[in-house]
């Protein structure tokens, strides 16, 4: 055993345990014999233990007087055990208990704060979502009314922007009304957003001229104009540029 090992072993023992081990543990006693400094240290600890024992023995019979017991029992008899919670010094509890209570209350407070925050953020999120839905409805909901009002002359039905086949953001801008057919006008901010696979180009356009916004107009065409006698009106999406010229068209139904 080396000195460091000896000290490590000794530090983990109480004084009385160390005195005991001095006689019973061969490694400790052997090292104490071999190393003079460790031996002296162990001797001092043993003497200290003896002194502690003397002090312990000298006060072993000391205890509180009977008056203390009497007073405490009087309080016990007078105490209503149901009403204990309101009484005094929490601060006399050991620090570990007080700290653990603090941590406990802190944890409750943290959970409550997290719940409040979650509810607040959730309500904000819900509110924002509702607001955005209201905005969309305000935009989309107004159009059919206008359309209905303006399509009294026509026999066809009018579709709202949400019914359009494109999933992209679509704004209903205005309603064109023409004799013999109705139309819903939608707009796209980006001309490249038109899916050229579905639409048939009706004219070739110079990019310098055709770079402006375009509008998609859903139209119901009288049956005789396109199908020649089936009797069913035909719905078609027509892409119209700002210059009023038709760029492309597709048959929806």
């Amino acid at each position: 055993m080396k000195c460091r090992e000896f000290m490590f072993a000794a530090e983990s023992l109480t004084l009385s345990q160390l005195s005991l081990m001095r006689n019973e543990d061969a490694a400790i006693s052997e090292h104490a014999r071999e190393c003079a400094a460790c031996g002296r240290w162990l001797e001092s600890q043993t003497l200290l233990d003896n002194a502690m024992q003397a002090l312990r023995a000298s006060t072993a019979r000391r205890e509180a007087s009977p008056q203390v017991e009497h007073a405490v029992l009087e309080v016990f008899r007078a105490t209503g055990f149901a009403s204990q919670e309101a009484v005094e010094p929490e601060s006399a509890a050991p620090a570990a208990w007080r700290l653990s209570h603090l941590f406990e209350y802190g944890a409750y407070a943290a959970v409550a704060a997290a719940l409040i925050l979650a509810v607040f953020l959730g309500s904000r999120l819900l509110h924002d979502r509702q607001m955005s839905q209201h905005k969309i409805q305000a935009r989309t909901g107004a159009a059919p009314q206008t359309i209905k009002a303006t399509t009294t002359k026509t026999a066809g039905t009018v579709t709202s922007a949400e019914e359009l086949s494109s999933a992209r953001a679509v704004k209903v801008l205005r309603v064109h009304e023409r004799d013999g057919y109705s139309s819903t006008v939608t707009g796209r901010s980006d001309s490249s957003a038109i899916d050229s696979d579905e639409y048939d180009a009706l004219m070739l356009c110079d990019p310098l001229i055709c770079s402006g916004d375009e509008q998609v107009i859903r139209m119901e065409l009288p049956a005789n104009t396109s199908t020649g006698g089936s009797g069913q009106p035909v719905t078609a999406d027509v892409v119209v540029g700002d210059d009023g010229l038709v760029r492309a068209m597709r048959i929806v139904r």
């Binding site: 109480t14 000391r62 509180a64 203390v68 204990q84 006399a92």
Partner: protein, 200 residues
């Protein structure tokens, strides 16, 4: 019957209004609490006050005790420690407790050989004086571990600190005590010479 119950069981019964259980618990634990306060303060008056306060506290706040956090004895020592601090801050200066009071002397008398008795008394007084001269946080661990013979774990619960802290404080306190005894009472119990630790 009640003597076979654990402290925690007695407390549970006492808090239900069982006076016999409370009396048994008091009689079992008042001695160690009293001696802890006595060793800390060297005043029997403070020790009596503290003992009474500790058990009144137990009556008032006993329901807060959680056995999962430690033994009731350690809890009581923790409460006692706080009351000792209060009492000493309130009415006793540090200088007043650096010497064990004369009123405590009769208890040091035993029925053994008078010479041995005197030697033991001198040793006790010298070591008690040395203990009382320690800083409070060292004194607490010495009183709990060496005089009350609490385990490190129970002392850690009572003082609300880590086990390693108890160990290191105790080790340091022992070194301080040995140095003090070598200085103040070299003739007592063979305290003399160099007892510095070897770190080779």
């Amino acid at each position: 019957m009640l003597n076979e119950q654990t402290d925690e069981q007695l407390l549970a019964l006492a808090l239900k209004g069982n006076e016999d259980a409370f009396t048994a618990l008091y009689r079992r634990r008042q001695g160690p609490v009293y001696r802890f306060a006595l060793h800390m303060s060297a005043s029997s008056q403070v020790a009596e006050e503290v003992t009474q306060e500790v058990f009144l506290f137990l009556l008032q706040r006993g329901r807060d005790f959680d056995p999962a956090r430690g033994a009731l004895a350690a809890y009581l020592f923790g409460v006692a420690r706080n009351y000792v601090r209060r009492a000493m801050e309130k009415s006793y200066s540090e200088s007043a407790v650096t010497t064990p009071a004369e009123e405590d002397d009769p208890a040091l008398v035993t029925e053994i050989d008078p010479l041995e008795n005197i030697a033991r008394n001198q040793t006790s007084k010298a070591v008690w004086k040395a203990v009382l001269s320690l800083p409070e946080h060292y004194r607490e661990v010495v009183v709990l571990c060496d005089l009350q013979e609490l385990s490190y774990a129970d002392a850690a619960v009572a003082l609300g600190c880590a086990l390693g802290t108890i160990r290191s404080r105790l080790h340091r306190a022992h070194e301080m005590l040995v140095r003090k005894l070598q200085r103040t009472a070299p003739a007592l119990s063979g305290f003399s010479g160099d007892a510095a630790r070897c770190l080779s």
